[in-house]
């Protein structure tokens, strides 16, 4: 049975419907990540769960109890904000203990609880400082401590890492992950960083303009995006979308690419049987890492097609080199090994691994 349930949730702010009927379920101990472009309603949804915004319609159910009318403080939820929202006038210790104090927990119990939380987060030496005396990463940890100490039923995180620099972000991400693994907390987490979403989530919800685009595990979202929006949104560089046409039918169907009859690839295994009809225009979605130099091609892959194409630009990142090439007037990006040396203008031979390719209907944008 699901622990957190959101049923047909709608929220109007002024005349704008910001959330247009959201349905989500999350099991106990699950880690739900909400992703979506800026302004899609992620924070609004999180605030609604927390009770910081009244709902227009729909229900929020926690552990079987409809909490729509409960005040935020009675929902037994903790929240970590993007700005951390630490109380600047209190020490770290007071910050962490504040929620307990509000609940009337006796002083020595509070102190003990703070100690435990501080130990978990390795901020014991900071307890007497004020937020202004902390670095970004430390503040982040205090904010987590404040949530942790309450042992709430649900944790909410609103873009907690977006104020950190890249290096720290990786570290704190790992901390959050291990925290989740150790405490088995139920978490709803907002981000617009796909890597964060992929690495942390047990379940990802992709939102766009107040509607759910897809709900699934990270692997499902990444490998089997429900539509073009999800495909494009998750992953960086974005998934390549190659114009194709179905040639042949049934088991013999192939897809010709780049408007070139001579380049055909087999229908990827991800496509549902009978979803394609001959002559149909499709978009073949292929992640950059599925297009590589021939040396890197996955030896276990079932269908690899090699295609030569002129190189437009190379971007060596050190660990890999992204190569942008052109075929049929369209660009695509491949991820090759860092050693591969090719330059703009060269013609290069790419290995297309079609095991993970997905096919979309260009009209509806849905995956076939």
């Amino acid at each position: 049975m699901s622990f957190l349930e959101i049923r047909n949730l709608r929220k109007k702010i002024g005349n704008v419907e910001v959330l247009k009927g959201i349905d989500i379920e999350l099991e106990k101990g699950g880690f739900l990540v909400l992703v979506g472009p800026s302004g899609c309603g992620k924070s609004t949804l999180l605030n609604a769960i927390a009770g910081l915004l009244p709902l227009t319609s729909g229900d929020i159910v926690i552990d079987g109890q409809v909490v729509n009318d409960l005040h935020p403080s009675q929902r037994d939820i903790a929240m970590v904000f993007q700005s951390y929202a630490l109380y600047p006038n209190m020490t770290v210790e007071e910050n962490i203990a504040f929620a307990l104090e509000m609940r009337g927990v006796p002083k020595d119990e509070r102190a003990a609880a703070v100690k435990v939380a501080a130990k978990t987060l390795q901020i014991e030496h900071l307890l007497t400082r004020r937020p202004s005396q902390l670095s970004g990463g430390q503040r982040q940890r205090v904010a987590m401590g404040r949530a942790l100490v309450r042992k709430p039923r649900v944790f909410l995180f609103d873009e907690p890492l977006s104020n950190l620099d890249a290096k720290l972000r990786v570290e704190v991400r790992a901390e959050i992950k291990s925290l989740h693994q150790n405490t088995h907390a139920t978490i709803v987490y907002v981000t617009h960083d796909q890597i964060e979403a992929m690495t942390l989530a047990t379940k990802i919800v992709v939102l766009k303009e107040g509607t759910v685009q897809q709900i699934g595990t990270p692997a499902e979202i990444y490998n089997l995006p429900a539509n073009l929006f999800v495909a494009d949104f998750m992953g960086s560089p974005a998934m390549n979308m190659l114009d194709g046409k179905v040639v042949g039918t049934g088991a013999e169907a192939r897809i010709s690419l780049f408007g070139d009859q001579s380049i055909t690839v087999p229908v990827p295994p991800t496509v549902a049987a009978g979803a394609l009809s001959e002559g149909q225009s499709v978009l073949l979605g292929l992640r950059p890492e599925a297009i590589t130099d021939t040396g890197l091609a996955d030896p276990q892959a079932r269908s690899v097609t090699q295609i030569e194409a002129p190189v437009i630009m190379t971007e060596p990142t050190g660990s890999d080199t992204f190569v942008t090439a052109e075929l049929g007037g369209k660009h695509f990006t491949a991820r090759t090994r860092a050693e591969v040396s090719c330059q703009a203008g060269d013609t290069f031979r790419f290995a297309f691994n079609l095991d993970k390719a997905v096919v979309f209907d260009p009209q509806s944008g849905l995956r076939l």
Binding site: L53, D69, H71, P72
Partner: protein, 294 residues
Amino acid sequence: MSGAVQETVSGGSAKTARVVIYGLLILLAAIYLLPLYVMLTTSLKSLDEIRGGDMLSLPSSPSIAAWTKAWGEACIGVTCTGIKGYFWNSIKMVVPAVIISTLLGALNGYVLTKWRFPGHKIIFGMMLFACFIPFQAVLIPMARMLGMMGIANTTTGLVFVHVIYGLGFTTLFFRNYYEAFPDELIKAAMMDGAGFFRIFWRILLPTSGPIIVVTVIYQFTNIWNDFLFGVSFSSGGSSPMTVALNNLVASSTGVKEYNVDMAAAVFAALPTLFVYIVAGRYFVRGLMAGAVKG
């Protein structure tokens, strides 16, 4: 701008709470309005009604006779042309004084934040401290200086005085505002080839709207309402409004025409009231933007 406390899911007591809040606010507003109310109603009453009646009652037969008298006929000294002439005196004094002090404050704020040099803090501190000098203490030496400069008893002299003693405030306002103005914009303009003044005119000043509003409101009300400098450094027909009003209201002999006094007081208050009501919202915004450290 949203309230600090947002709307949340709320219990049943919220309705009563709102009633209490509105009730309190309306009550307080009524209390704050009383003096203005009394001034207005009194100015519309006849003298007999004022003497005999209740201060808070509405005028039984409102008449604007007192208004026309205050504006055009009341005697101040030996001239009986009302306060209208003095109204314009005030305008002639306030407008240049506000413009000059604002402009100088803006330039000072600009230098003190974007073109710092060693000692800028001391200079700013000294300018700020100047805000706090009691004006009574400067009357005599100021009169001497004005005399030496040949602008004693002139509107120019009054403008000069108001500019000087407004500088501390205007500089403070603009400095706090420009402090938050990104340095990078100045750097960019420098690299684009703009000089000191061009950066000021083209980049800073056009974006100083909120703080200009605060400064202008502040300076306008202070200078308009000033009495001490007005009475000391102007004479007779060139006196500002407040001095004329005082001559009308505080004269020690003769029948007190309270309705005329009040009408004159309302006239004297009109420009500042107007400024506050029209620009009040920008005032809070401007305070946020710089005048108050939040």
